[in-house]
């Protein structure tokens, strides 16, 4: 099914209105994904329009990649084809807000920063701190299952989404779940859409569970000299009643990158950042016991003073952005929670062997590790590094995905690794939602 190119913009304009279709090549170049540039950017103003655009594209075999602020467009394999960038930015309304019930329903284009500001007036928040920070949209965060270190205390999108509305390639709007905090009626389609990278349908609206902000917060930096000390410390903290909000372990290159510092001699090799939250008696006890726990394994610690702490956290969460000006490889490994230190240690050894730079930020207790690799010789060893690191992660019982490629390596190997023996079911699932294969074709696991 081919379409005369000239009629596409006018047909799209008929659906969404004049001002919301852009076909200017320069603007389209900015919406590129995996090296492919779309011919049109369409920005509908409502959910019905999103559904209509999807139906039009399905009928005319135009490949679509949905997007919010574009902070996660580097994720996934390069698309096999790409005609329309479908921007959800105008879907930024609050549809339903019941502060007293701790629930909210928002459009997918709502920016996380705007949402937090809105909720802040009532002392509430949506406790997710994914990369992309304040500009990431709710739809994008859910579609990519983005999370940050706050996951330690609050879980991920799958734990906080009560329901959603999704536009399908048939041009329909379907709902899953609802806006009450407990609901088992029907299949949980929200789980399926979360982390589907826009390959099944387009999330247009989501109902979220909200939480009160902690009364106070404090960040402690502990400096274990070795991975063994880091592991002992992590065990002590997680086996204690302290219940931190966030906890990350950084290697030396990660912390110096974070502080924009050079690599001064004598810097400690590892830093364990621990943020605790609660009323002041809780914070006081945490302070006392964190220092004590550090001391018991021979580790020094200090408290970071606000607002510097919050600033550092913001940069740290946006880990992939730390390499914006570099040609770097960014990897994310998901692991059994207690294997993070071991994985980082293995990665560091590998990087030393291959003479490349490696910055690592791992979330012990959650089981997520982010690695940034760069250096002059990286191009020649990158493929081997990915293969080795993926094997290391899989041997530890986890997986590894490539979050950002080197420029020259775009698309030469698989971003995702294996999805195991359920990949056929996933293909069938894709065929149910997107029989013509127009949604982000080829970007997902197994070439879905």
């Amino acid at each position: 099914m081919t379409t005369a190119t000239a009629s596409v913009p006018s047909s799209l304009t008929a659906i969404v209105g004049d001002s919301q279709v852009v076909s200017d090549p320069r603007a389209c170049a900015a919406a590129a994904a995996g090296g492919r540039v779309p011919q049109h950017i369409v920005e509908p103003s409502g959910s019905e329009n999103v559904a209509a655009v999807l139906k039009f594209c399905a009928d005319h075999d135009l490949a679509v990649i949905p997007r919010g602020s574009g902070t996660k467009l580097a994720l996934g394999n390069p698309p096999r084809r790409y005609n329309v960038a479908l921007s959800l930015r105008q879907l930024n309304q609050v549809w339903h807000y019941e502060a007293a019930d701790l629930t909210i329903t928002v459009g997918a284009g709502m920016k996380l920063g705007d949402l937090q500001e809105f909720l802040g007036r009532d002392g509430l928040w949506f406790p997710l701190d994914p990369s992309g920070g304040a500009s990431a949209t709710i739809g994008g965060i859910l579609a990519t299952n983005a999370s940050g270190p706050l996951r330690l205390r609050h879980g991920a999108a799958r734990d906080m989404v009560l329901g959603m509305k999704v536009a399908t390639t048939e041009g329909k709007l379907i709902k899953s779940g609802g806006r009450v905090v407990k609901n088992v009626a029907g299949y949980d389609l929200s789980k399926l859409l979360i982390g589907s990278y826009g390959t099944l349908g387009v999330i247009v609206e989501a109902s979220l569970k909200l939480f009160p902000r902690p009364a106070g917060r404090a960040t402690w930096v502990l400096e274990p000299g070795t991975f063994e000390a880091a592991r002992d410390l992590r065990r002590r903290i997680l086996n204690s009643p302290l219940d931190p909000l966030r906890m990350v372990l950084l290697n030396r290159r990660a912390s110096s990158r974070l502080q924009n510092a050079g690599e001064a001699e004598g810097e400690h090799s590892l830093e364990l950042w621990v943020e605790v939250g609660g009323p002041s008696p809780v914070l006081e006890r945490c302070a006392r016991e964190l220092v004590e726990m550090g001391r018991s394994v021979g580790v020094q610690g200090h408290r970071l003073i606000e607002p510097a702490a919050e600033n550092y956290w913001r940069r740290l969460i946006d880990f992939p952005a730390l390499w914006e000006d570099f040609d770097a490889l960014v990897l994310k490994s998901t692991l059994p929670t207690a294997t993070c230190e071991q994985f980082l240690s293995l990665a560091q050894q590998g990087a030393e062997r291959e003479r490349v730079n490696l910055a690592g930020m791992v979330q012990p207790g959650v089981g997520i590790a982010h690695l940034g690799l760069w250096g002059e010789t990286l191009a020649s060893v990158a493929e081997r590094q990915v293969t080795d690191l993926r094997k290391a992660a899989e041997d530890l019982g986890g997986a590894l995905v490539v979050e950002r490629y080197l420029k020259d390596f775009n698309g030469k190997w698989d971003v995702w690794g294996s999805a195991g023996d359920s990949v056929e079911s996933m293909r069938k699932m894709k065929a149910v939602w997107d029989p013509r294969g127009i949604l982000a074709p080829g970007r997902f696991v197994g070439g879905i």
Partner: protein
């Protein structure tokens, strides 16, 4: 296929001791917590995944229906074999396969009893958080099928928030693995789809769950009220102030009197309602929250608030709650439990509505429920031999659930749709919503070989239901 041939073949595949077929043996398997319709043709007891695959392949070759069953404690008819066929009972698949405390994970067979998992890791200081009231009997496989809840899921989340990976047998005998020991396995979150699918997509043969560390401190409070309205207002006020107890249960006066007579939990016989509240966590946080809760209860006219002084007293408070259904069973030949959910701000209005419905239909309704997450369990007492009363009970229940839908809520918070609420689905979901769910079912279970006729009404049924009746009339 003739029954004798079916039995002979299953006995050959699994051994004689793994198959039940005599009518007197099958009687036990014709009902769950909801109803009794008909017995299965045979009951089989696999010991491992290979046995399940054998059974499923045999069923596929003979075009037989397979219905999985844990302990049969479900309340929506999810494991009732209403079309006969093979009932696959998990009583012999009850091994805890792996406990990995360092990673806070356990891998279990589906027949493991919920409480047994917590007991197995208790000495090391861990537990499995979802705690359905039937946790002494119900199985983790059944919990996964129903996405079971429980009082403490208010703070810690329901089953789906604690399950990371599954092994599933599909109707063609294929075995797939979803998720794993870690979060965010690459690919679609099929684990999240299987949890709560009520045995209609695949048969789960292995489950990987998260274990939590026990809290350092716990405070259990009993707040006593002279008016139901004040109790429901307390719940709304606590939520609005962002105080999330680990559990927040409400019991109305009628129900607590029945409980008190049966268990002597120490609930005051003359009160209109009690709230059972529990806060957990760090000592300092627990103290602060307990004081906060006490003052919110007082502000909302609690007669008094009592804090359990010992673990014995705490157990006693909970004993009453957990044995409530049994206590009501002592005073009524039967009862019908509802599972609606509403926004917590609407609780005061809803409880008045329920009282009105009871009066209108001339039926007695007790309320004992997870107030903190707005998950109602109105319990309507009746005598099933009285046909007119049974009809009025169903009508009253339908009206309550219709009101839940009206308030933007749900028809089920933790018990599932099963057979029971299938006719209400068209009032909660549109044809397009349900059509997508049917397609998803067809991905895994295209011929409805597994647990047929549950969860999703046929499209023909939807039109007829909506055309002819209001949601109040279809239960």
């Amino acid at each position: 296929m003739k029954l004798t041939a079916m039995v002979r073949e299953l006995e050959r595949l699994l051994g004689r001791e793994a198959v039940l077929w005599r009518p007197e043996d099958l009687m036990l398997y014709e009902y769950d917590g909801l109803s009794s319709l008909r017995a299965p043709d045979v009951v089989v007891f696999p010991r491992n995944t290979e046995d399940v695959v054998r059974i499923v392949k045999f069923a596929a070759s003979e075009r037989l229906v397979v219905v999985p069953r844990g302990a049969g404690t479900g309340l929506s008819g999810g494991s009732v074999p209403w079309q006969g066929g093979i009932l696959l009972a998990f009583a012999r698949m009850k091994d805890i396969l792996e406990i990995d405390l360092e990673n806070q994970r356990a891998r279990v067979q589906p027949g493991v009893v919920n409480l047994d998992l917590s007991l197995a890791v208790s000495d090391a200081g861990y537990y499995y958080a979802p705690d359905p009231s039937s946790q002494k009997a119900c199985t983790l496989g059944g919990n996964v099928a129903e996405n079971a809840g429980g009082p403490h899921t208010l703070l810690y989340g329901v089953t789906t928030n604690h399950v990371l990976g599954l092994e599933v047998v599909l109707p063609n005998g294929e075995v797939i693995h979803t998720g794993g020991k870690f979060w965010d396995a690459p690919g679609y979150d099929l684990t999240g789809v299987f949890v709560g699918s009520e045995g209609t997509l695949g048969i789960v043969t292995e489950i990987t769950v998260r274990l939590l560390r026990k809290a350092e401190a716990v405070a259990t409070l009993l707040a006593v009220y002279d008016r139901i309205l004040d109790a429901t207002r307390t719940v709304a006020a606590l939520t609005a102030r962002g105080i999330t107890p680990a559990a927040l249960e409400m019991i109305d006066g009628f129900t607590l009197r029945a409980i008190e007579e049966a268990t002597h939990a120490g609930y005051p016989m003359d009160s209109a309602a009690v709230l059972l509240l529990e806060v957990e966590g760090m000592r300092e946080a627990v103290e602060e929250n307990a004081l906060h809760i006490e003052s919110v209860c007082q502000e909302n006219k609690a007669r008094y608030v009592r804090r359990a002084k010992s673990s014995e007293e705490r157990d006693l408070f909970w004993k009453g709650r957990k044995n409530a259904f049994g206590a009501l069973g002592r005073i009524s030949p039967s009862y019908y439990v509802q599972d609606g959910v509403i926004p917590r701000t609407r609780l005061p209005e809803m409880l008045e509505f329920i009282e009105q419905v009871g009066a209108n239909y001339g039926v007695k309704i007790g309320n004992i429920f997870h107030a903190g997450d707005g998950n109602l369990h109105p319990i309507i007492l009746f005598d099933p031999r009285d046909e007119d009363e049974s009809r009025r009970v169903r009508a009253a229940a339908g009206e309550i659930l219709a009101k839940c839908i009206d308030m933007g809520g749900s028809i089920t918070g933790e018990h599932g749709v099963g057979l029971e609420k299938i006719n209400l689905m068209p009032f909660l979901f549109s044809d397009d919503d349900l059509e997508m769910m049917r397609k998803i079912k067809a991905v895994f279970n295209p011929e409805e070989r597994f647990n047929p006729g549950k969860v999703l009404p046929t499209s023909k049924m939807c039109g007829e239901l909506r055309a002819n009746v209001s949601p109040g009339g279809v239960l």
